[in-house]
C-alpha cells in the first residue's frame, strides 16, 4: 500500500521529503472527507437552522419550545460527545451507522443549533417597519418573511454564518476520532509511524489554514455582491 511504502522510505529521510511526501495523503483526506463533510453538514445544518429559527420565533409554544430545547441541548454539550453518541451510542443499541454518515448527522445537528441563533438574531434585526410595510401591501406572514425579511436578514447573517462555517471546517478534525480518514486522521496515521509529530501536525494545521483562508475570500465576494443595495 502507498502509505506503507511511504513509511519505509521516510524512515531515514530528511524532514522536507517527509513534508512533501505526506502532503498528498493529507490533501486526499481533505478532498475525500474534510471538504465534503463540511459542505454537506453545512447545507443540511443551515436548512435545519432556518426551520429552527422560524419555529423559535413562532408565537405557538408547541413550535417554539421544541426548538428551544434542541438549541439548548446542542449548545450545552460538547461536539465530541455528540459525535460519540451518534457513532458509538447508536451503534450499540442497534442503529449502526458508518463513520462518515455519522459525522454528517452529528455535524448537521450541531450547525443547525448554532446557526439557528444567528438566523433568528438577523431576522429580529430587521426593523418592524419592514413587516408593517409588507402587511400594508397585503402580504401575510410567510410571504413577508420570504420576500421582504429573509433577503435582508441574509445580508446581516453572512459574516456570523461564515464564522460558523469556518469553525465547522476545523471541527471536522474531530471526526478522526470516529474513524473518518479525513485530513487530520491522515496526519495522525503518518505521525504514528514516523514519530515526526511536530512536522506533521504543523503541516495539517497549515492545510486547514489554507482552506479557511480560501473560504474567507469567498465570504468577501458574497458580502460585496449583497452589498449593492445596502445603505452605507
Amino acid at each position: 500500500m502507498y502509505l506503507n511504502k511511504l513509511f519505509a522510505i521516510t524512515a531515514d529521510m530528511g524532514g522536507w521529503e517527509l513534508f512533501v511526501n505526506s502532503l498528498w495523503p493529507m490533501i486526499q483526506g481533505g478532498i475525500k472527507y474534510t471538504i465534503p463533510l463540511t459542505l454537506i453538514a453545512f447545507t443540511f445544518g443551515i436548512s435545519l437552522a432556518l426551520i429552527t429559527a422560524i419555529m423559535r420565533l413562532s408565537k405557538y409554544k408547541f413550535l417554539s419550545i421544541p426548538a428551544r430545547i434542541y438549541v439548548s441541548a446542542v449548545r450545552g454539550t460538547p461536539m465530541l460527545v455528540q459525535l460519540f453518541i451518534v457513532f458509538y451510542g447508536l451503534g450499540q443499541i442497534g442503529f449502526t451507522i458508518d463513520p462518515f454518515p455519522s459525522a454528517i448527522i452529528a455535524f448537521s445537528l450541531n450547525v443547525g443549533a448554532y446557526a439557528s441563533e444567528v438566523i433568528r438574531a438577523s431576522i429580529l434585526s430587521i426593523p418592524k417597519g419592514q413587516w408593517e410595510a409588507a402587511q400594508t401591501i397585503g402580504m401575510g406572514y410567510s410571504q413577508a418573511l420570504r420576500r421582504i425579511i429573509l433577503p435582508q436578514a441574509t445580508r446581516v447573517s453572512i459574516p456570523p454564518l461564515s464564522n460558523t462555517f469556518i469553525s465547522l471546517v476545523k471541527d471536522t478534525s474531530l471526526a478522526s476520532l470516529i474513524l473518518v480518514t479525513e485530513l487530520f486522521r491522515k496526519a495522525q496515521e503518518i505521525a504514528a509511524r514516523t514519530y515526526d509529530f511536530m512536522l506533521l501536525y504543523v503541516e495539517a494545521a497549515f492545510l486547514y489554514w489554507i482552506i479557511c483562508f480560501l473560504l474567507s475570500l469567498v465570504q468577501d465576494r458574497i458580502e460585496n455582491r449583497l452589498d449593492r443595495y445596502v445603505s452605507k
Binding site: P127, G129, Q130, E132, A133, A134, Q135, T136, I137, G138, M139, G140, Q143, R147, I148, P151, Q152, R155, R228, Y229, V230, S231, K232
Partner: protein
C-alpha cells in the same frame, strides 16, 4: 359615507389609547388628524389599516364589507380590509433590497397577482405621477428622503386602494424636502382621492382638508371644517394646542 367606524377602542397592556371613537370618512373627502404626541392620533390611523388590531370597533364600508373587531376577523376578511387602504409611513419603510420600481410592483404583482405588463405600466405611471420615473432603477439608499417618501406614496397607490392613509408623512424629512412630498399629496387631493392624514403641518392641513379632527388623550375633542377648528376652535384644549404650534415660544 365611504367608511363608518363605531366604538373603536384600543389598549396597549392596560393603557387605553383610543377610547370608544366614532368616525366617519366620506368618499372623496380629506380628513386631517391633529393632536399632541401621545394623543392616539397615529394609533387611530393605524387601526384603519389593522396595523394595530383594535380591541373593539365596528367598521362598515360603503360596499357592504363589515368587520367587527370584537370577534377575531377571518384572515381573508382582514386582507380585504387591509387592501382597502394604502399606508404611507413616517419613516417611508421602503424595501431596501428592491429598486424603486420593484417597491411599487411588489404589491400588485406578488400579492394581488395582477397581469405583469399592466402592473409595470401602472407602476411607471405612478412613478411618473410622483416625479420619479427617471429614478425607477435606483435603490432606496440612492434616493433622498423626499424621493423615498414619494416612492412610498407610489407603492401605496399601486395596490389601488380606495383610501389613502398618511402617518406624519413629512415628519422625518429635512425642511427643504417637505414641499415636494406635500405637493404630491395635494395633487392626489385634487384628483379626488379619499384620504386620512396625521400631520403637524397645520398650514397644509388648512389648505387640503375637508375636515380637521383634533384628538387628545384618546378622545376626539373636536372636529369640523379647517376654518373652524384651526381658526376658531370651540374647545379650550384645541385652542391651546394650536397656539403652541403656531407660536412655539
Amino acid at each position: 359615507m365611504f367608511l363608518t367606524v363605531k366604538g373603536l377602542s384600543k389598549s396597549f397592556d392596560d393603557q387605553e389609547v383610543l377610547k370608544h371613537i366614532d368616525l366617519e370618512i366620506e368618499k372623496g373627502n380629506i380628513l386631517t388628524i391633529i393632536g399632541p404626541s401621545g394623543s392616539g392620533k397615529t394609533t387611530l390611523l393605524r387601526c384603519l389599516n389593522a396595523l394595530e388590531m383594535p380591541n373593539k370597533g365596528l367598521f362598515t364600508f360603503s360596499d357592504g364589507l363589515e368587520i367587527d373587531f370584537e370577534k377575531m376577523p377571518k384572515k381573508n376578511e382582514l386582507t380585504k380590509f387591509r387592501l382597502k387602504s394604502g399606508m404611507v409611513f413616517q419613516s417611508y419603510n421602503l424595501f431596501p433590497h428592491k429598486t424603486a420600481l420593484e417597491n411599487v410592483t411588489e404589491g400588485p404583482l406578488i400579492v394581488q397577482k395582477r397581469e405583469k405588463q399592466a402592473v409595470f405600466k401602472l407602476a411607471e405611471s405612478l412613478l411618473d405621477k410622483v416625479g420619479l420615473l427617471d429614478k425607477k432603477y435606483l435603490y432606496p439608499h440612492q434616493l433622498s428622503g423626499g424621493q423615498q417618501q414619494r416612492v412610498g406614496i407610489a407603492r401605496a397607490l399601486a395596490i389601488e386602494p380606495e383610501l389613502m392613509l398618511f402617518d406624519e408623512p413629512t415628519s422625518a424629512l429635512d425642511p427643504e424636502l417637505v414641499g415636494e412630498v406635500l405637493k404630491v399629496i395635494k395633487d392626489l387631493a385634487n384628483e379626488g382621492w379619499t384620504m386620512a392624514i396625521v400631520t403637524h403641518e397645520l398650514k397644509f392641513a388648512e389648505q387640503v382638508s375637508d375636515r380637521v379632527l383634533f384628538m387628545d388623550n384618546g378622545y376626539i375633542v373636536e372636529q369640523g371644517p379647517p376654518a373652524q377648528v384651526l381658526k376658531d376652535p370651540k374647545e379650550e384644549r384645541t385652542r391651546q394646542f394650536i397656539q403652541r404650534i403656531m407660536n412655539p415660544e
